[in-house]
Symmetry: C2
Subunit: 343 residues, 2 copies
């Protein structure tokens, strides 16, 4: 059932039916009611593609996920972020389009999305320190919002980020206060903006207590369980192993814990762990008492809020782009304790 048929059934013009269903005032309440009733009865829905073509709005937001290789890992926070964004879209009448592309194709993908007019805007994931994608999107005039920030980019744009620097500074201070001097940092991939900010916070906290950062205690990689396990195993084998680990994700922290326990040590007594917790739905950090002491910030909320920022921006393109900086909360759990005396 399309508009032509529906209006024919009603003995009205397409104009009137369209106006009635879209809430325009030029149609009497009586006929509007009649039209709505008929539309319901025939389960009429306007064809999205025709509507988009006529209005010029796709009512669709693009998320493009670059993958280096076909079997590269999918970022585990991805699902929760997406879920958050999607719930905003559905609340505001938008749809989400997801593309996975080879990362060499990512720039071209944005150009395509723009030229083909298949989306009204995009969310930019995983910004690197000097991210060329932002400049591209500005150049081609594609509305966008960034999950995170790119330190290297100067002109104002729309973003939402956790205050990674302050979170990791605070976490490091917490460990220092417990007497830890050798604190390892298991960070995200080098080049990622968030990883850089976290390292800065860590470094500043150490520096303020007169402790120099030591590359031997620092690792950077994709945040998998295996990365946490391996790195910890390596460091435990040092003459002076760290007494505490500051970790970038729960999954990674699970690996750290496994290495610690494999070595016959007890988490929270022999070795402390603080991790960042994205509050993933399937990986709750305990219920009553947190398992890990953690800097916590819900990535699902981030998705919801960033999507809202983007839709606002699309609605009102001339308003100055908005930024949101979220503070992570430090939740003390069972994974931290005073530095062992013998250390």
């Amino acid at each position: 059932m399309n508009l032509k048929e529906l209006s024919h059934t009603l003995g009205l013009s397409q104009t009137t039916v369209s106006r009635a269903l879209n809430g325009y005032p030029e149609v009497s309440e009586k006929t509007r009611l009649r039209i709505e009733q008929a539309a319901r009865a025939h389960n009429y829905r306007p064809n999205t593609r025709a509507k988009s073509l006529a209005t010029g709005r796709a009512m669709m937001i693009g998320h493009v996920i670059p993958m280096a290789t076909k079997h590269e890992m999918v970022n585990p926070i991805f699902a929760d972020f997406i879920a958050g964004a999607a719930s905003t879209y559905s609340a505001r009448g938008y749809e989400m389009m997801l593309s996975m592309v080879k990362d060499s194709d990512e720039m071209q993908t944005y150009r395509n999305l723009m030229a083909r007019m298949s989306v009204d805007g995009v969310i930019l994931h995983g910004p690197r320190m000097d991210d060329e994608r932002i400049g591209l999107l500005e150049e081609i005039g594609m509305p966008f919002a960034v999950h995170g920030r790119a330190s290297g980019h100067t002109s104002p744009y729309c973003w939402l980020d956790v205050n990674n620097k302050s979170a990791f500074k605070r976490a490091t201070e917490f460990l220092l206060d417990l007497g830890h001097k050798r604190i390892a940092l298991l960070n995200g991939i080098e080049g990622m903006d968030f990883a850089h900010r976290r390292r800065t916070g860590y470094g500043e906290a150490l520096g303020a207590r007169g402790i120099a950062t030591d590359p031997a205690y620092m690792r950077s990689d994709e945040m998998t369980e295996t990365f946490g396990y391996r790195s910890t195993q390596d460091m435990l084998a040092m003459k002076t192993p760290p007494t505490a680990y500051l970790v970038s994700s729960m999954i990674c922290a699970i690996g750290v814990r496994r290495a610690i326990e494999d070595a016959g040590l007890v988490m929270g007594r022999d070795v402390s762990i603080v991790t960042h917790d994205d509050a993933l739905s399937y990986l709750r950090n305990g219920d009553d008492v947190p398992i890990f002491t953690a800097t916590r910030s819900s990535v699902r909320d981030a998705g919801e809020r960033l999507a809202d920022l983007l839709l606002d921006r699309i609605r009102d393109p001339l308003a100055p782009p908005r930024q949101v900086l979220l503070e992570a909360e430090l939740m003390v759990g069972q994974s931290t304790g005073p530095a062992p005396n013998r250390a």
Copy 2:
């Protein structure tokens, strides 16, 4: 730059330009080359919505994810499955549309997708034993493919599933062979088809050795770390606790392990664990030697292959719907060992 402008620039008709770019034979090689060159130079891409409207194909596949509450958990296998499907789509020129809806709205969502003609087909996630969605999709004529199966549905439809029954039967036999008699089952949510099949396999293996299933050793819930931890804690407190756990997901198994180690027991010596491993990219089950003994089947591959099935079905709607049953492989890791003697 749209088709009208481009063809005007070239001094050709829209017909010819369109045909040239779509590879039709009615245009000379010389002009085709000229047209392609101009298209590239002006970065011309056909407007997707106009193209869809004209061809009647959306070149888009829908995935609808129902959520009971706003903050219900996102299934952790979701990201990897989606990544697999998306890579197939991008290889075959399709896009993916993702909607999250309240689960009370799911049926209506499918009707909408059909009436609005916004997708060419859908992937059905998480089928329950008697899943009403399949009947609906058949009724409204929406092409679909199911990730899993619905035992209650009789008419043939397109699906791809892991042989959950044989996998869990095999895993149970493996534990029985090691001398375990009290084997716990931590299963997925009641009502899910896969959970039912797994329980059947488990039950059959036990039955074949004359062991009756004991509800005290069986739990069913969302497969979170916490669920694994709690269930194991509970069971460890029994007079005769299980000596082995058969678990439905790695994340859940991590919780089981935590409970075991919190109780001062050693995994693989005091207590054995076998888990299903979806081969999630961020949660590798060790590299050389698997941490957990596991029934393994990549959910990312499943996504790729199921998407292929669906696209084939869309291309050739009259062909009989295809089904794929994948066998999981049993990988022996460090989490299993002979049943303790005292048991």
